[in-house]
């Protein structure tokens, strides 16, 4: 029983960080109907921003965290303006967006490797929170795990508030429902797209810092974030509650697999789950229907 609860807590903690990443995929998908594979690169940049703000500039942790999030938000906007805007202007098919996103993710990953002062070395975050876990009864909860969960929960709460209760949030919902009609209703869809990228980038930065603290920082960290993409598909692409539920479930499934079966199968289970979801229920747990309205 103790082991079960322990795994559950670990799963919730990692799942909540996946959720922060997955909402970025889902937000962009809900408006633009393509999978933004450059998001993994943005998350990786977030981890590096946080690392350098903490070590090079010696900023206090909350400032570094927010700073990293703002930096990646700006990065996401720059990516949208340079890579996707020209395609949007041309009304290119979604496949060109995907290829462009793939190119962007190759670029982001390798610019970090190529830049002489960063390079491909693994870096470890300074120890900000002590490694001694908090004891609750017979359970040991890592301080970092708890922090990850709390920060993610706060961020997701803010996002829900923003989407459901502000004017811009309502505009995002309208745009995701029908981009052409909302443009006709006077919504500046270009601005909405920038907002969506900025939001996704902001959360990517926070997720990157948390992820970097939990593990290490290295250029290929974006590959791991592919799992958050799977979580977004699992929950249903384009659906925010779906992304969160899918992520938490994936986190729990992963920790249970590595806890009870073998950690070797942890990554495999994620991809098998992806295929299974696509075969059994392609629109995910709560996604929009993927049928073309031709």
């Amino acid at each position: 029983m103790t082991q079960f609860l322990q795994q559950l807590i670990n799963g919730l903690s990692i799942g909540s960080v996946y959720a922060l990443m997955a909402v970025g995929y889902s937000l962009v998908y809900s408006i633009m109907n393509f999978s933004n594979f450059a998001h993994g690169g943005v998350i990786m940049f977030g981890a590096y921003f946080g690392f350098f703000y903490l070590t090079l500039f010696r900023l206090p942790f909350p400032v570094a965290l927010i700073g990293a999030a703002l930096s990646t938000a700006i990065l996401a906007i720059i990516i949208e303006r340079t890579a996707y805007k020209p395609l949007r202007n041309r009304r290119a098919p979604f496949l060109y967006f995907i290829i462009c996103a793939m190119g962007m993710s190759i670029f982001l990953e390798n610019i970090i490797i190529a830049l002489p002062f960063i390079g491909p070395t693994f870096r470890t975050y300074p120890e900000i929170f002590s490694k001694t876990p908090i004891k609750i009864g017979s359970l040991a909860v890592g301080r970092l795990d708890l922090l990850m969960f709390i920060i993610s929960a706060i961020c997701l709460g803010l996002l829900v508030y923003f989407i459901d209760f502000t004017k811009i949030g309502k505009a995002i919902q309208a745009t995701s429902y029908n981009i052409k009609a909302s443009a006709l209703m006077g919504i500046n869809t270009d601005f909405i797209i920038i907002t969506v990228f900025a939001l996704g980038g902001f959360f990517a930065g926070i997720a990157g810092v948390l992820f970097g603290m939990k593990y290490t920082v290295y250029p290929q960290i974006g590959v791991i974030t592919n799992k958050s993409f799977i979580a977004a598909v699992f929950g249903g692409l384009g659906s925010l509650p779906g992304a969160v539920i899918g992520s938490v479930l994936l986190g729990i499934i992963e920790t249970f697999t590595s806890g009870y079966i073998s950690s070797q199968y942890r990554d495999l289970i994620a991809f098998v789950l992806l295929i299974a979801v696509l075969v059994i229920r392609p629109r995910g747990l709560m996604g929009k229907s993927n049928e073309d309205k031709a």
Binding site: N33, F34, S35, T82, A83, P86, L87, A92, F94, L95, Y96, I98, I99, C100, M102, G103, M104, S105, I106, F107, L108, E109, N110, I111, I113, A114, V223, N226, I230, V233, L237, Q264, Y265, D267, L268, F271, V272, L274, I275, L278, V279, P282, N290, E291, D292, A294
Partner: protein
């Protein structure tokens, strides 16, 4: 010939084989795949198993590898080809990664550590011959009734369905042939490297193949040939800037998508007829200009 140049040519030929298959799927049927490295892996491991464990001659082993890849693709296709656009890409991505992770755990093939000691059967002669056969077969397929049906599916799925083309069937055929090509490429690679490791067939390999097809031009066999030659040898030539070459690569993909999405050849083919036409056009122009001068 210089062994180094020969090596680059063999690598280009192996890539070309996989790219030709992908060209049929992406360029002529309009389906994007991010899992072709998975088919290469299946073909490669099967062919190597045939030569190493059953001491089979090279060509039959390659063919068995191709059949194995094609068979798996039929299963994947039957399950996922009914999905629309984006979701098929994602399913192939999941398939490719799952294949790699499964192979990581198959100790019979050496697992993640790799599998050395595969006989070096691949040489420039048989790579060139196999590629020529593959190109001739593909060119004939595309000009046949079936090829035209595939192009119709690419152009307008709904309209071709109304016109009586079995869209699902042609998508499946295209996928199976393309997987067979990838399987042969995998077999060639196994017997050239004399070493197999699941890492060789990661997502980056699939992306690389897709990028070559797009770089060469969707719907052009000669474009694929040119693309495979240029993009395989370019990183070799740029070895000196090893860190920067992938940065340039990623940037090039983005720039191509933004400025010249039809790729290098843009659907144009080098055939004896088109060459004749081109030369006669040039001659005509020269005649005209010389007339002008007089």
């Amino acid at each position: 010939m210089d062994a180094y140049i020969q090596g680059i040519l063999i690598l280009s030929g192996i890539n070309l084989m996989a790219v030709l298959g992908l060209s049929l799927l992406t360029g002529f049927t309009g389906l994007f795949s991010f899992g072709h490295a998975g088919f290469m892996a299946i073909g490669g491991y099967t062919a190597a198993a045939m030569t190493v464990k059953y001491h089979m001659p090279f060509i039959p082993a390659l063919l068995i590898g191709a059949i194995a890849a094609s068979f798996v693709s039929a299963i994947i296709g039957a399950l996922t080809l009914k999905l629309k656009g984006d979701y098929f890409c994602i399913a192939t991505l999941g398939f490719g990664e799952a294949t790699r992770l499964i192979l990581d755990n198959v100790q019979y093939f050496g697992g993640a550590r790799g599998w050395p000691g595969i006989p070096a059967y691949t040489n420039l002669t048989n790579v060139v011959i196999i590629n020529i056969i593959a190109i001739v077969l593909l060119a004939n397929l595309i000009r046949s009734k079936h090829g035209r049906n595939m192009i119709a599916v690419r152009e307008e799925e709904l309209a071709s369905q109304i016109a009586g083309i079995n869209v699902f069937k042609y998508k499946l055929i295209s996928l199976m042939i393309s997987a067979a090509y990838a399987g042969i490429a995998g077999g060639l690679m196994a017997h050239y490297m004399t070493f197999l490791q699941p890492k060789m067939f990661a997502l980056t390999k699939s992306t690389e193949l897709t990028i070559i097809v797009i770089f060469g031009g969707l719907g052009s066999i000669s474009g694929s040939v040119l693309g495979a030659l240029v993009l395989t040898s370019l990183p070799e030539i740029l070895r000196a800037f090893s860190n920067w070459r992938l940065v340039i690569y990623g940037l090039a993909v983005i720039i191509i998508m933004i400025t010249r999405p039809e790729g290098l050849m843009g659907g144009y083919e080098f055939t004896p007829q088109s060459m004749k036409k081109l030369f006669s056009n040039l001659k005509g122009k020269r005649l005209k200009s010389s007339e002008g001068r007089e």
